[in-house]
Structures are given as structure tokens and as C-alpha cells.
Subunit: 369 residues, 2 copies
């Protein structure tokens, strides 16, 4: 049986494995420091489609397809998909996933959607409701600016606190352990055959599991500037990180890395301050995905990257590979989302925010703790 | 352990109880045939707030508060909330739930959101991830017309295939059985005391459980008319109903009622036809929530009601009471959603749709089957 941990967390008795993952990036993201680690870089912002929104759906669909291929799963074998994006009525997700024919739940947490999708997919797998589940999300600079800010042709100036919405999509295939074992046995036979074709021996990757989740609460400190979303999201991130440590009975140093989604340079400082006031110091092991995806100065990305794809791409291209290589043993992944809309912004309302936490760990780590 | 049923369903080994539910309706809904069964009718479309969107959030918040009060739960005792609405970036839900401070996941399935929220909340409870979970959703005629169609002041004519977005919100509090038993024991003591105050004896309500769920697949038959959404949604509803019967090994007659969300008069005929082509006849036990909420002719609602609140209000005011009274034993609740947005409609794209299925049953029924 699974169990509730502390006030708002879940600790899985049978941790859920990340069977595979994929990251499909746009041109600017491909030119950034993580570019070489992306599965695919797509130069055309419309991805061969008629407009940005259709292009974004294509990013999502492609990421899902690559993750399934890497994980050795056909779409018919995936029991549930949890997807999210930033567009009104989540059209990027629904148009992206529809042709795959996978039973589907739309999940919304703004830029924290990767966390919400991973948490829900992990619960579905660990609860025995799905043997294989897909968590995916996308964002797109063009479609997001159109949705939230100004027409691109207007050429407005952006303050330095503003972030740049990442174009791309990340997808994560989760599976339960017994299922994985069965699959691996089946693959062994296949591998023997591959061996005959003299493929080069690959360095063994460690498996990564989701060991627990923290469902975020909405925090609203009254900020209302859509060009300074790091300030809206920092309190939500601080709350989730603090609660994760409380609920899991851990200290910050237990995690090799605590990775927030897209606070950016300004939001990061607020996060560190807020946590320090509560006697939690994450300065040494904190990473913000928004500050990793671009060379912010050279690429003119101001405070950093943002969008659902920001944390998803960094998770797939940077964080998970470090766990898989053995460099890191345990991380807390905390994507952050600002829950505004064009309408709420025009009505002069505040920007509430949320952050979900995902405890990721190398396989076997729990035994040695 | 829970188990996967058939291709895309879940059958719970320990069915999840609906501890309580609440329906808060707008003026027009209060004037309809179910008006007397609503918990609250709010005449002011802004619910005392500054605009429709804030009003809608207030509907949602109020429904959640009533459900928690009826279920004898404080907000601190609710482990997770799953909410959805029709507005861009789901501001009705996030602004509605934020002051309650409940850990939260945004769920999007357009007008099928009640089904998605109930399914996810039920999985959270049955998996042991939450002892109490809240599923809620809202919609609003004013905010929806603004979001999807024309400014109300423009006074456009609506074709007879168009539906009327329901103003209101429904909330459902789900709990696990052992937790319920503990609670009931605690309540027994309280009841004795109430007895001393000579309260009138109430007719005993039967408990209703969620016994299984069907996660919907997106269906797109290529329709693109936002004034005829019944046509877009009928194939999704037919698919989910057909799959539910297959996965659960049932025939349509096993259910006292199969209730779709908001197909309306036109969509209903399409549904019946589609199912008949697959040798499934639901004509006798089919109900469409959109056709129940208004006296369509007298209230000028054309094809019927729609919106997330349509199926939620009808579930809380009509369907669950019939299960609780013993009139019905078993129903299949199938809210339907059209996954369009203003942007996708303006781009001339089709309207994909989805429907999720919830198998609801009187307590004790499973033993007699």
C-alpha cells in the first residue's frame, strides 16, 4: 500500500520507474547550453504545420512518440496519458495527443504542468490503475506571447525580469516494476539478436524512480506583473520545498539537487530568501531550470526560460541524465506555475502560483538510506 | 489491489464513497425543473464580485464549502482537490480554490471535467494517496460566451443546435471506506446528542460509491461548428459507453441510467444512432444532463444546457439523489467535453471531443450481482 506522508505528500511503497523520456526543442533552445542533449531540435517554429498552435501540438506528439519508442512501448500499450500546456483550453495537448488514441486526462498547472502530469501519472501507475502511463507537456514562445502578452509584430520591449517561453515538449513514460521486469526479460532476447549485428556496447544507465510527490497549494502574495512571474512563483516554490522536507523528514542536503521550474534570476533570489527565513538553505544545491536552458545573456533571454517545456526539457536533458549516470543519487524536482490568464491580467487581478514536487532517485538508493 | 479492466477502464476493489456533494446554481438554472433540488440558487451572475470570472470562482468555492460542511470535513482534512472549468488557463478553478488552501490539481476536459475530476479523485482515494479528496467544477454563461463566442452585448442569434452554458458549480467529496467508518463512529456519538435535542428523524440515505472509471479517448469526426457541439461530442460519448460495457463485461440494461453530459437534443440522436450501429441500445435508459437542467422550450435554451456545471449540477441534484433514495441501483455517468478554444475555432480547426465514464452504485450492490 502507498501511504500519505505528512501534510500534503505521498511516499510510494513501490517507487515508479521512469522507463524512458524524450525532449524535443525549438531552435533557440537547441542553440542553448543543453542543445546537444536534446533528442530533436526543430528549427521551424511551426514544425511544418499551419500555425504556432498546431506546431506546438506537433512538438508534444513527437516527444510522446520518441519516449514510447525509447521505452519500447506501442501507443496501444500506454494506458493513460496526462498532458498539459499553457494555451487556452489546452489545445496544444488535446490536438497533440488525439491522433495517438491514448486514454487522456488534461492537466493544468501552468508552467508547473510537468510536475502535475508526473505526479498524476505516478499515482496512476503505483495505484495499479495503469501499467504504463505517459506524462507530457509543451510550450511555445509564439503561441504563449499571443496568448498572454502582445502580438509579436508589435515588437514591445521586455523588462529584464521577464522570462522567455521555451519552445518544445518533454515526455516521460512511467511504468510499474513487475511490468518492467517482464518487459526487460522480453528485451533480453531481442538484445541477443542485436548483439549478433555487433552493435557497440552501451554504458549501462541506472534506472530512475519517482519515490514520492508533493501536491502543491496555491500561493498568492498579491503580485500582478505578468513580466515578473518569478516573484509570483517564488512563494509557491518555497512552500512546496519546505513542505517536502517536512513531510519526507529530510533536510535540504539530502538532495543532490533541488530544481525549480522557471523562477529565473530574480525569482531565484526571492526563493532563497524565503527559505532562509524558515531556516532552510538551498543555495548550494538549488538549480533553476529557467536559468539552465539558455545562455541568458548571449541569447537575450533576460531572466531565463519559462513555460511548461522549460522544466520538462531540463529534466529530460540535464537532470535525469545526471541521475542515470550516477553523478546524482536523489533530487527534488519542483516545477513552478503562474496561474494567470489574459482575462485575469486584464481585470487587474493578482497572479496566484503553484509548485508541485517530485522526488526522483536512482534505483536501489532507498535501501542504502 | 485495484485492477485495470479491459482496454481503458479501472475497476476498484475497494469502491470509493461519495461522502457528500453540493450544487450551487445560477438564476436560470434555479428556475428550471431541478431548481428546487439545488443547495443554493444565486440570482446575481457576479455572485457579489466585480465580474463574471470572479463570480464563477465564487460559485466553485461555495460548492466546495457546502460539500465539505455536509461531509463533516474541514478544509485542512481534504488531502487533494481536483477542479476544472472552461475558462482560459482555468482561472475560475484556481481563483476559486486558492483561499481554501487545499493541495490542488487543475484538470481539463472541457464540459467533461466533472468526469475527469471524479476519476482522478477516486483514483487518489482508492490508491491510498488521499483519505479525502474533492472533485469540483464550474461554468458560467457570461464568462463562457465571452471566452468562446460573441460579446453578449452584440446580441447574436443562436441556432437551435446551440446549447446554453450552465451557470453554477458542483462539488463532490470522496473518501475511503475505513476512513468513513471511523468518521461514522465519531458521528454516532454526536447523533445521540442531536437526538436529545429532538431533531426530526430523517429518512436514511443509501451510500453511493464509485465502482469503476473509464478514461476517455479523444475522438474527432471532423465537425467544426461551435454552435453544434453535440455533434462533436456524440462520437466520444458513444465510444466511452461502448468501451465501458466491454471493459466491465456489462450490457446497457445493467445500468438503471446512462447519463451523458451535454449532448443536447441533437447530439442525443446522434449518440443513439452511433451506438445502435454497434448493437448497443440505450434509448430506454439514456438521459442527457443538458436536457434535464432546463425546460428547454419555456426557458429558450435551444438544444439544452452545457458547460462543466451542467453534468455536475444534474449529478448532484438528480442522479445521486435517485441512487441515494434506492430508486436506482447503478448508473453510468458520462460527461462529455468539446476540446475547442477561441484560437482553434478562429484557425478553422475541427472540434475534438472526449467523454469520461464513472460507474456509480448504491452501497452493497456489488455483493448481490
Amino acid at each position: 500500500m502507498s501511504r500519505m506522508a505528512g501534510k500534503q505528500s505521498v511516499m510510494f511503497d513501490r517507487p515508479v520507474e521512469i522507463l524512458s523520456h524524450a525532449c524535443v526543442a525549438g531552435k533557440k533552445e537547441g542553440e542553448g547550453p543543453l542543445g546537444k542533449k536534446m533528442d530533436v531540435i526543430v528549427e521551424d517554429p511551426k514544425f511544418g504545420k499551419g500555425n504556432w498552435e498546431e506546431g506546438e501540438s506537433q512538438f508534444l506528439k513527437t516527444a510522446c512518440e520518441i519516449a514510447m519508442r525509447k521505452g519500447g512501448r506501442k501507443k496501444e500499450e500506454v494506458r493513460m496519458a496526462f498532458c498539459g500546456d499553457l494555451l487556452g483550453q489546452m489545445i496544444a495537448s488535446s490536438f497533440g495527443i488525439k491522433d495517438l488514441g491514448i486514454p487522456y486526462y488534461g492537466v493544468y498547472g501552468a508552467c508547473s504542468s510537468a510536475g502535475a502530469a508526473l505526479a498524476l501519472a505516478a499515482m496512476a501507475v503505483e495505484g495499479g490503475f495503469a501499467d504504463t502511463a505517459l506524462a507530457a507537456c509543451s510550450s511555445h514562445f509564439g503561441s504563449a506571447e499571443k496568448e498572454f502578452r502582445f502580438p509579436l509584430g508589435y515588437g514591445n520591449q521586455r523588462p529584464y525580469s521577464a522570462t522567455w517561453t521555451v519552445t518544445g515538449a518533454g515526455a516521460f513514460l512511467l511504468g510499474s516494476r513487475p511490468e518492467t521486469r517482464r518487459r526487460e526479460e522480453a528485451q533480453k532476447d531481442g538484445k541477443k539478436e542485436a548483439g549478433r549485428r555487433a552493435e557497440p556496447a552501451k554504458k549501462k544507465k541506472r534506472k530512475v524512480k519517482i519515490r514520492g510527490i508533493v501536491t502543491g497549494k496555491i500561493k498568492d502574495y498579491g503580485t500582478a506583473d505578468p513580466f515578473h512571474m518569478g516573484a509570483s512563483m517564488a512563494p509557491a516554490a518555497a512552500d512546496t520545498i519546505y513542505q517536502a522536507l517536512e513531510d519526507f523528514g529530510r533536510v535540504a542536503e539530502d538532495f543532490d539537487c533541488i530544481a525549480t521550474g522557471d523562477l529565473g534570476t530574480v525569482g531565484r533570489e526571492l526563493l532563497l530568501d524565503l527559505l532562509k527565513k524558515n531556516q532552510v538553505d538551498v543555495r548550494k544545491n538549488h538549480v533553476d531550470c529557467g536559468m539552465e536552458i539558455y545562455s541568458t545573456k548571449e541569447q537575450d533571454a533576460h531572466a531565463g526560460g519559462s513555460g511548461c517545456a522549460c522544466s520538462a526539457l531540463v529534466l529530460s536533458s540535464l537532470l535525469l541524465p545526471r541521475l542515470e549516470s550516477g553523478e546524482w543519487k536523489r533530487i527534488l524536482f519542483v516545477p513552478t506555475g503562474a496561474l494567470l490568464s489574459q482575462v485575469s491580467a486584464n481585470e487587474g487581478r493578482t497572479i496566484p502560483a503553484i509548485a508541485h514536487g517530485i522526488w526522483l532517485e536512482q534505483e536501489g538508493e532507498e535501501e542504502c538510506m
